[in-house]
């Protein structure tokens, strides 16, 4: 299976929505605590046994915590940078022209970025300054700032079907659901007793959302009945850093954790843990499932490695 060694510690990995063999990786020096960052755009070889090649790499003055592909332009990538900036890169332009835009509004580290998959004209960034900001490609300032969270916002994710709805997960132990047309959040879900590090919407049921927390669990919720979770997924030995629903199977989801493992779950089954991958030798902090190739997964961690593998196979197999 393809492996790529990054010079810095990995923070996030995303498959391109346009090319099945392309992915972007966000990395940060010194575990993202101090130093530079680098955004890698990688190309997979059609043959799985051949190595991953690097299309391009961009350096930043501070660590990059997250990366997001544009849904409207195949060559545009968004980076969430630890110095509080959100940077836009265009792969079609030479390195000297990049970044094509740098938004500098967040007052603290930007932890996540997500592009609107329905309207395709805007994206979100969430930050440790307790806010989420809404941006469009053609405006120099943010369209709006969402300010209700009381602690770091680790994740903000668009609903896959409703163009104006997104959810945000925060260290204040709440998940909030917003409609950008409304002045405030439409729902506050006290999902966990501890910080919530990630959230994701189900791709087939727009009312289902998952949250991942420092309490080592992943919870799946139906927003129409938010008093009790649909299920609680236990099995990680440390905080769960990312959670993602599969684009191909309604009940399938993937999570990665500080326990250095990537887990695949079927949340409708009583014994929900489908498989556990322990290929990382440091905190596993980034995971993604390909939209274009069913079962294709990628993960990255603080061990400075990016793995790409088919679900059901050993990521380390040559």
């Amino acid at each position: 299976m393809p492996i790529f060694k990054t010079p810095f510690n990995g923070y996030s990995v995303k498959f391109s929505p346009f090319y099945e063999n392309r992915l972007a990786v966000a990395t940060a020096q010194n575990f993202g605590i101090l130093g530079n960052g680098r955004l890698h755009v990688l190309d997979l070889s059609p043959e799985p046994s051949l190595p991953i090649s690097e299309l391009v790499a961009y350096d930043t003055a501070d660590g990059i915590y997250d990366v997001a592909w544009s849904e409207s332009h195949d060559s545009i990538v968004i980076a969430a940078v630890a110095d509080g900036s959100v940077k836009l890169y265009d792969l079609a332009l030479p390195p000297t022209s990049n970044p094509i835009r740098s938004f500098q509004e967040h007052t603290r580290e930007v932890h996540s970025a997500d592009y609107n998959p329905v309207r395709r004209d805007s994206f979100l960034s969430s930050s440790w300054d307790d806010t989420v900001k809404l941006w469009t490609l053609d405006r120099p300032t943010s369209v709006r700032t969402f300010k209700e969270h009381a602690y770091c916002v680790y994740s903000a994710v668009w609903n896959p079907r409703h163009a104006d709805v997104f959810a945000s997960a925060s260290g204040d132990c709440t998940l909030r659901v917003w409609d950008v047309r409304e002045p405030g959040s439409t729902m506050i879900l006290p999902a966990h007793e501890f910080e919530i590090l990630a959230c994701d919407w189900n791709k087939y049921d727009e009312c289902v959302i998952a949250t991942a927390s420092v309490d080592k669990s992943v919870k799946v919720w139906d927003v129409r009945n938010y008093r009790v979770p649909l299920c609680v997924l236990n099995g990680h030995g440390y905080a769960v850093r990312k959670v993602k629903f599969s684009p191909h199977v309604r009940n399938l989801m993937v999570s990665c954790s500080y326990d250095m493992t990537v887990c695949v779950w079927d949340f409708m089954v009583e014994d929900a843990l489908v498989s556990r991958y322990d290929h990382h030798t440091e905190f596993a902090v980034g995971v993604d499932m390909s939209v274009l190739v069913e079962g294709l997964m990628a993960s990255t961690g603080w061990d400075e490695l990016v793995y790409v593998w088919q679900h059901g196979t050993d990521p380390r197999a040559p």
């Binding site: 575990f31 605590i33 101090l34 580290e109 260290g171 910080e195 669990s217 236990n234 500080y258 326990d259």
Partner: protein, 463 residues
Amino acid sequence: MEKAINRQKILLHHLNPSSSTHPNESSSLHASACVAGDSAAYQRTSTFGDDVVIVAAYRTAHCKAKRGGFKDTLPDDLLAPVLKAVIEKTNVNPSEVGDIVVGSVLAPGAQRASECRMAAFYAGFPETVPVRTVNRQCSSGLQAVADVAAAIRAGFYDIGIGAGLESMTTNPMGWDGSVNPKVKMFEQAQNCLLPMGITSENVAQRFGVSRKEQDQAAVESHRRAAAATAAGKFKDEIVPVTTKIVDPKTGEEKSVTISVDDGIRPGTTVSDLGRLKPVFKKDGSTTAGNSSQVTDGASAVLLMKRSVALQKGLPILGVFRTFAAVGVDPAIMGVGPAAAIPVAVKAAGLELDDIDLFEINEAFASQFVYCRNKLGLDPEKINVNGGAMAIGHPLGSTGARCVATLLHEMKKRGRDCRFGVISMCIGTGMGAAAVFESGDCADELCNARKVDDLLLSKDARLK
């Protein structure tokens, strides 16, 4: 740099240790201990929150008796600072403490018990908190900790303090009164009267521990203790004590703060020690240089039920697992640890190979070397910051001092260090040992020793 500190803090919150045992997590998956299997000891079951944990352990600096920094300090003024420290640093309400048990050997029993009670008042404990002493010779401090752990486990109270105190300036070793003539009829009883140094000579002679080996052990102890002091490793565990020094000529009192051990000799070499004459036996091998020092010092350990520690939000420094005291031949009392350690380790369901760190009291180099070799222990795991030959051996305090030293070192080593053992030989022929586990930072599953064969039980192995 402030930005880096903030980021580190936020990321470290993701690894919040208390989340592993949050009381509301009723639906959590727990690794269940299979009591029939050999790996039961590795699966810590903290679901009920009823095991006994250590949340603080401190000691004074250790100073030479009669000549060191505490030569003019009264015993109760030595104990009060460490009792005060375990309360102040953890912010525990002193009235919640169920008992204070102090190990102490040399002072007259009733007087020492009164001095410990007085020290508790100096430290801010109300009259409702009881105090008692315990004397199991050189292991008294460890026995105090074990007694408190047993009382908590029995449900007598939830929070207790095991401590140790000895001022060998005020109370030197000695024997009061005459000896019962009856001892002549019982060889073992007669051997209880042997000076400790003679038992060291007996160990060296009977088990072939050479003078050179003993001197090398002493040099290593001083070297390690000096390195640990220079690296600041003892700062976490030593409580500075403000006291007085009286000039013997002028009688003038001077206020001083003692925060560093003063018995450590960094420059000691094997050839230096080789020049010393044996003290106890002509042509013997035990010298002042390869024996533990006569010392003043005190120490204290705060223990509580795990559920109480979680409720108070206190970091867990260590877990008390087992304690064992065993008897051995009084003539070679120094072999006590070699007999006690296997018993305590086995009682914990572990094997010697599972123990990552040892604090074995160095009463004498001969018995220390013998026990190390007898048990086949890796020298890199024993007394890694020096031992009693360098730091000193205030008889009643050493056991609790070793708890402080062991747990602070285990904390520094993190995940690589899960189980630790403390042991000492005991005058009149005993050994004591206790097994500790590192605190919450231990991963519930990943640090377990891999069981080589898949057999469920040791009994199933064919041999």
